[in-house]
């Protein structure tokens, strides 16, 4: 009898554990391509404002999140895809995986229509620019004595002194890596761009699977120069006291960090409320203060230590081409670079 009771208790325990994790109705599921910290803070504010609780999975690699949404297309498990450049949201919209929603909140906030999809499939809520990041400790120790000038253009990455010391995020899994690759193609034309990328590969010590991974390795001196979003470099220097310098070169690429609603997700109404919320000041402010990303609202101050977005020099970035050729370019990267 005692044994029966013990077994019954065990079973009850397991069942209770499972029961607790059952779904509630006032809940949305968010896939975030932003780092954990910003995601958590923004979601906390959203819950405070609307009473809708948020379950989030943040993997700082937009390609990975987009891959997940595709893999789950028969039965979407998330409502929201937030963060990551629009380059990753648009293909999903084309494949019919996103829900169109024209957010009145974005119109009210006077966000420039440049940053909003006319069909309402995605809304841009922050901006970022690609930059050269330098580990100043190692630079002063190893490059200054050899009189190497600080890199100021993308071509400077190919200097022989940087062999084995260059790091950037992978073009296969990250938005930053792909936008950089596409920017080289727009800058040099396809054939010369691949020659450039092969030469870059010879200098690279590694291509990190997530964007922040590049900053980590640079900050710890696993590399001397790297390519990453300017906001990541600035953030690591200001918030993390890391020895990093950020230089935005000409012909840079930029991201329009977007949010979109996944079609067929468990809670579309909650998802719409989330999109509206991102147009408000609080989340953009959090993102500028803690993530150092540019807001799309004019009334939110530019992140500390950043040049005004309008003053940066961008490459002629053909968004449609970049999206149409995304799969092909990534496949070619896998074939020719192989890592």
């Amino acid at each position: 009898m005692k044994r029966l009771i013990a077994m019954g208790l065990l079973l009850a325990l397991v069942l209770v554990g499972v029961g607790v994790s059952q779904a509630q109705t006032t809940r949305i599921v968010v896939y975030s391509a932003l780092p954990d910290l910003e995601t958590t803070m923004v979601n906390r504010e959203f819950t405070k404002r609307t009473g809708i609780s948020v379950e989030a999975l943040s993997v700082a690699a937009a390609g990975t999140i987009a891959a997940r949404i595709r893999a789950e297309k028969d039965k979407p498990r998330a409502d929201i895809f937030t963060g990551g450049s629009r380059d990753f949201h648009i293909p999903l919209a084309r494949e019919g995986l996103l829900l169109a929603y024209k957010s009145p909140a974005f119109a009210e906030a006077k966000v420039s229509p440049v940053y909003i999809d006319p069909d309402g499939f995605w809304h841009g809520w922050y901006l970022g620019a690609l930059a050269i990041i330098i580990n100043t400790d190692r630079w002063d120790r190893e490059m200054v004595p050899r009189r190497v000038p600080k890199p100021a253009t993308w071509d400077d990455f190919l200097r022989p002194e940087f062999r084995g010391h260059f790091i950037m995020p992978s073009p296969i899994t990250t938005g930053g890596g792909y936008i950089f690759t596409a920017a080289q193609i727009f800058r040099l034309g396809e054939d010369r761009a691949w020659a450039y990328l092969r030469a870059l590969n010879a200098n690279a010590s590694q291509f990190t699977p997530t964007a922040p991974g590049t900053i980590t390795l640079l900050a710890r001196g696993e590399g001397i120069v790297g390519m990453q979003w300017a906001h990541e470099g600035i953030g690591a220097r200001l918030a993390g006291m890391q020895p990093l310098e950020t230089i935005v070169p000409p012909d840079t690429g930029f991201e329009v960090g977007a949010v979109s609603i996944i079609k067929g997700g468990p809670n579309p109404e909650g998802a719409k409320a989330y999109v509206d919320f991102l147009a408000s000041r609080t989340p953009q402010d959090i993102n500028a203060k803690f993530g150092y990303r540019y807001p799309v609202r004019a009334d939110v101050p530019v992140p500390m230590g950043a040049t005004r977005f309008e003053d940066l020099k961008f490459v002629k970035y053909d968004l449609a081409w970049a999206i149409d050729n995304m799969t092909r370019v990534r496949e070619r990267w896998t074939r020719e670079i192989g890592r």
């Binding site: 044994r3 065990l10 397991v14 554990g17 499972v18 994790s21 779904a23 599921v29 968010v30 896939y31 780092p35 954990d36 958590t40 379950e55 999975l57 943040s58 993997v59 700082a60 690699a61 390609g63 990975t64 987009a66 891959a67 997940r68 595709r70 893999a71 789950e72 028969d74 039965k75 498990r77 998330a78 084995g164 992978s170 296969i172 899994t173 690279a204 010590s205 590694q206 291509f207 990190t208 699977p209 997530t210 922040p212 991974g213 900053i215 980590t216 390795l217 900050a219 710890r220 001196g221 696993e222 993390g240 006291m241 890391q242 020895p243 990534r330 896998t334 074939r335 192989g338 890592r339």
Partner: protein, 549 residues
């Protein structure tokens, strides 16, 4: 596990059981479960790509490179880990090597650590910002890549080899060594021609188990291999980076060929050839003193390896308390505060680990009970129950995604998919523990009960359940600890509602939040060590391990 030919079935007993609805039902139930959660996912992986896709593998440069790298890593890491395990085992089985008890307990530590922990700690210790390489020695060392992985896998897997070889060496009858000495052999010759010769099958078996673990190793590879492609990490990259289910299935299918071969080799060939049983054990002849060169040489080696293991734990704990690693060595609790936010992931780990432990325990004990009867087809059940030991974690992960991501059995997105994948992956350990316990049961007790008219289930409930409680606890504990620390399976199966601690840690490492990752790892370690302590108190021995994930 003694493998008996089917011809020896005692038909009387079969009839008796066949007429017993309880046993017949249990048999059918176990067969269905093993089929559904072991065979079916494996089958789904293998048939997901078309034949054409398989034929195109040799044309993919990257995959061939990954396959080559995986095999090379397997060979070199297995060699060094087995050799280190052998030297270590030799030292701790000699009564006159100082500190042998200490060495033995410190060497099993890596078995309870999360699989990426060695790699993570060694980046902190030997990377460019490494405490030892940079701060102490002033070197500029790059640990990322194959050489770092080799070092890490050697330290991570030698305990596995050591545990197996210790068992073999302890089985060697010292009188054999005495006989050799009486015939005039010197110490070297004794070690070479008797001890090592007798231990050879055991060493081969240890090497095979280590080789499977190295091939399947995902956690260390993903943290430290850098840009070095390997099959285990490539599978995840395909799935995560490109949502390429077919590619992921192809890669893990490539991985399964060598692991299954090694597994069959170990199970049906090497373990048959253990010489030590010929002479038996338990002889009371005292071992003569070990040759001083051997004694102190192995002692020094054990010290070195102990330091390497100590660094793993020291690195993680220190990393969690240091303000900015490599730059600002002041003590800070900020990382712990950050890790406190992740407590829900720890709770999810414990919940899923407990679910997996219960399933492993119940199924393991039930299947062991069934295979101990002389039923037809019991070898099939036995084989299915040990088969997961041959499957790499990434294979199981991909298999469960493919098998259960759509109706009728849609488990993706629930904690059950994690619990079931982990439970059945750890089944061999629970099952083998239960088999060993059942072997000790006196058949006559059961026969007495049957003669008094008890049904099969009644016998199970009244006689076996009390006896198998320890086996169940052992199975539960091993499955729980390994599920809580698992990475290779969970990375494929986590969903927003079920984020487990190891996944959160891996994310933090990837995003450069190393202090927070170290603090969360420390918390996870506290949980695993607490459960090891409880298990040791209850079960009283460490169970033999299987491939890590």
């Amino acid at each position: 596990m003694v493998f008996e030919p089917v011809a020896v079935i005692r038909w009387g007993e079969v009839r008796r059981h066949a007429g017993d609805p309880g046993v017949a039902l249990a048999f059918a139930g176990a067969a269905v479960m093993l089929g559904l959660f072991v065979l079916y996912p494996a089958f789904r992986v293998l048939v997901y790509p078309a034949l054409q896709d398989y034929l195109e593998i040799p044309r993919s440069l990257r995959w061939m490179q990954a396959a080559r790298n995986s095999l090379v890593m397997m060979v070199i890491s297995t060699l060094t880990a087995t050799l280190a395990g052998l030297i270590f085992a030799f030292a701790v089985t000699r009564p006159d090597v100082p500190g042998r008890r200490f060495f033995r307990s410190i060497a099993v530590l890596p078995i309870f650590a999360p699989p990426f922990m060695v790699a993570f700690a060694y980046i902190l210790m030997f990377g460019r910002q490494g405490l030892i390489t940079k701060t102490v020695l002033g070197l500029d060392a790059n640990i990322f890549g194959w050489h770092g992985l080799w070092l890490v896998q050697t330290v991570a897997f030698f305990p596995l080899a050591m545990l197996i070889i210790v068992g073999v060496l302890e089985g060697i009858n010292p009188s054999m060594e005495h006989a050799a000495r009486n015939l005039g052999a010197d110490e070297w010759a004794v070690v070479r021609t008797v001890s090592l010769a007798l231990a050879r099958p055991g060493i081969a078996g240890a090497a095979l188990v280590v080789a499977i673990s190295v091939l399947a190793d995902f956690g260390n590879a993903v943290v430290i291999a850098g840009g070095f492609p390997l099959l285990a990490t490539e599978a995840w990259f395909r799935m995560e980076g490109l949502a390429d289910l077919k590619g992921a299935a192809l890669v893990v299918a490539m991985l399964i060929v060598p692991t299954v071969c090694l597994f069959l080799l170990e199970r049906y060939w090497v373990s048959r050839r253990v010489y030590t049983t010929v002479t038996g054990r338990g002889s009371r002849v005292e071992r003569p003193p070990t040759h001083p060169v051997l004694k102190w040489g192995t002692f020094l080696f054990c010290c070195l390896m102990s330091v390497m293991i100590g660094l793993v734990y020291f690195g993680v704990v220190a990393g969690s308390l240091t303000a900015v690693w490599g730059r600002d060595w002041t003590v800070s609790l900020a990382h712990w505060r950050l890790a406190m936010d992740r407590i829900p992931t720890l709770l999810a780990s414990v919940k899923i680990g407990a679910m997996a432990g219960v399933i492993t325990g119940v199924v393991g004990v039930a299947v062991a009970f069934l295979t101990s009867r002389r039923l037809p087809l019991r070898q099939v059940l036995d084989f299915l129950a040990v088969l997961p030991g041959a499957l790499p974690g990434v294979f199981v992960g991909v298999g469960f995604v493919l098998a259960f991501n759509r109706p009728p059995l849609e488990l993706v997105g629930t904690p059950w998919i994690l619990a079931l994948a982990l439970a059945f992956w750890h089944l061999p350990m629970g099952y083998q523990a239960a088999v060993a316990t059942l072997k000790q049961v006196e058949r006559s007790i059961e026969e007495a009960a049957t003669n008094l008219g008890a049904s099969g289930l009644r016998v199970l409930w009244d006689i076996y359940v009390p006896l198998l409680r320890r086996a169940f606890l052992g199975a539960f504990t091993v499955s729980f600890i390994r599920s809580v620390t698992n990475v290779s399976i969970v990375v494929f199966l986590v969903t927003p509602g079920n984020i487990v601690a190891t996944f959160a840690i891996l994310n933090m490492i990837g995003n450069g939040i190393w202090g927070g990752a170290a603090a969360l790892t420390t918390m996870l370690l506290l949980i695993t060590f607490a459960s090891v302590g409880v298990a040791q108190a209850v079960v009283g021995r460490t169970l033999r391990s299987m491939p890590m994930g």
